[in-house]
């Protein structure tokens, strides 16, 4: 039975549950499709072998665990970075206080600074160097944390590959021993 595209579309909508009025030919094809789908169902079904299901489940657990660890590592790095930023900001604030407006009865910030003895240029440079050094150390610390995370990831990946390798080896061994 030859039907055109529009007729097939109507059959599709009918089979999807829409209230569509079909012609006799269209209804025949719709019923044919239903019957054939029902007959084919039993043949198409395939059981998932238990070993395959177990492997998939184990793989899933490893992946979930790995993802959770990654989230922890990212969280730790973020906390370390935030702590470093706060530390640097406080150090800078104590080193170079802001020109905030004076409280009532107090001299202005700028005038206070002017009253202080002049700081020699060389001493300021030394302090800036010390701050830069601190900053570098903190950055290095963050870098080490990230590197450790990568190593953890690599190790996990190696463990996973090794696990799979032995699994496959064992399976092939079992199959061979059954066969011969």
């Amino acid at each position: 039975m030859e039907l055109d595209e529009q007729q097939y579309e109507r059959i599709g909508r009918y089979l999807d549950g829409e209230a569509v009025e079909l012609s006799a030919d269209e209804l025949t094809v719709a019923e044919q499709i239903c019957t054939e789908e029902a007959s084919l169902g039993f043949v198409l079904d395939a059981a998932l072998p238990k070993a395959a299901a177990d492997r998939a489940r184990r793989r899933l657990r490893v992946q979930v665990l790995r993802r959770r660890r990654r989230v922890w590592a990212i969280g730790n790095t973020a906390i370390a970075a935030a702590a470093a930023a706060v530390l640097i900001a406080s150090a800078l604030w104590f080193q170079f206080p802001s020109d905030s407006p004076p409280a009532a009865g107090q001299p202005a910030g700028k005038s206070v600074r002017l009253e202080l003895p002049a700081v020699p240029q060389t001493q300021t440079e030394v302090e800036i160097d010390m701050l830069a050094e601190e900053l570098n150390e903190l950055t290095e610390g963050i870098r080490i944390v990230s590197a450790e995370t990568c190593e953890d990831g690599d190790l996990e990946s190696l463990e996973w590959e090794l696990d799979n390798f032995w699994l496959e080896e064992l399976e092939s061994f079992e199959l061979d021993s059954l066969r011969f």
Binding site: L3, D4, Y8, E36, A46, L60
Partner: protein, 193 residues
């Protein structure tokens, strides 16, 4: 899977709990495996694809917005994976003639015969499955996809049309033609085999 339990499993998985993912795998694993097996014709490939899908599930589920249609979302991923897999296999396909010889000058046919396990009862019982695989293999990929998504994904024709990126009429025509072809090859008629 009942809607309430499905919603709980999805929420649990989205919260990063293995229990939720396992519930989803338990509910959909067999159907996904069946879909992969019938699409590729190989148990090994089906298992690989199922494993790969679990990894994708872990990566993508957090972006999934549950509105009661989890199956189309899941089987859309599965269908894309099958398409990629078949594309890769087509590129890798190498034809070796059995009338040729191996590197030691031995006929390849003899080497292959030595490696083939003897036929046993299980193989005879599996003739049906082999015939089905052969019949499915004869269908074009798009037609096979419609039939498999319909059966394993339990999807409407409209949803399949969206996944396939084809008009609804075309999808129905493919289903009609494909089912008829399978019936012819498998030798069953009017619901009886």
């Amino acid at each position: 899977m009942e809607q309430q339990r499905l919603r709980e499993a999805i929420s649990s998985a989205q919260a990063g709990q293995a229990r939720g993912y396992e519930a989803l795998l338990g509910a959909y694993g067999p159907r996904l495996y069946g879909f992969f097996l019938r699409a590729t014709g190989r148990h090994h490939d089906a298992e690989d694809l199922l494993g790969e899908l679990t990894l994708r599930l872990v990566r993508r589920l957090k972006h999934y917005d549950h509105r009661g249609r989890f199956e189309p979302w899941l089987f859309r991923i599965a269908a894309n994976m099958v398409r990629d897999h078949l594309r890769r296999m087509r590129r890798r396909r190498v034809v070796v003639s059995l009338s040729g010889e191996d590197e030691f000058g031995e006929p390849l046919a003899e080497r292959v015969a030595a490696k083939v396990a003897p036929v046993h009862a299980g193989v005879v019982a599996g003739e049906d499955a082999a015939r089905l695989d052969e019949a499915l293999g004869k269908l074009d990929i798009a037609t096979r996809e419609v039939i498999l998504l319909r059966h394993f994904g339990q999807m409407s024709f409209k949803e399949i049309a969206e996944i396939a990126g084809s008009p609804l009429g075309t999808v129905l025509a493919r289903a009609h033609r494909g089912l008829g072809e399978l019936r012819r090859v498998m030798g069953y008629n009017d619901g009886t085999r």
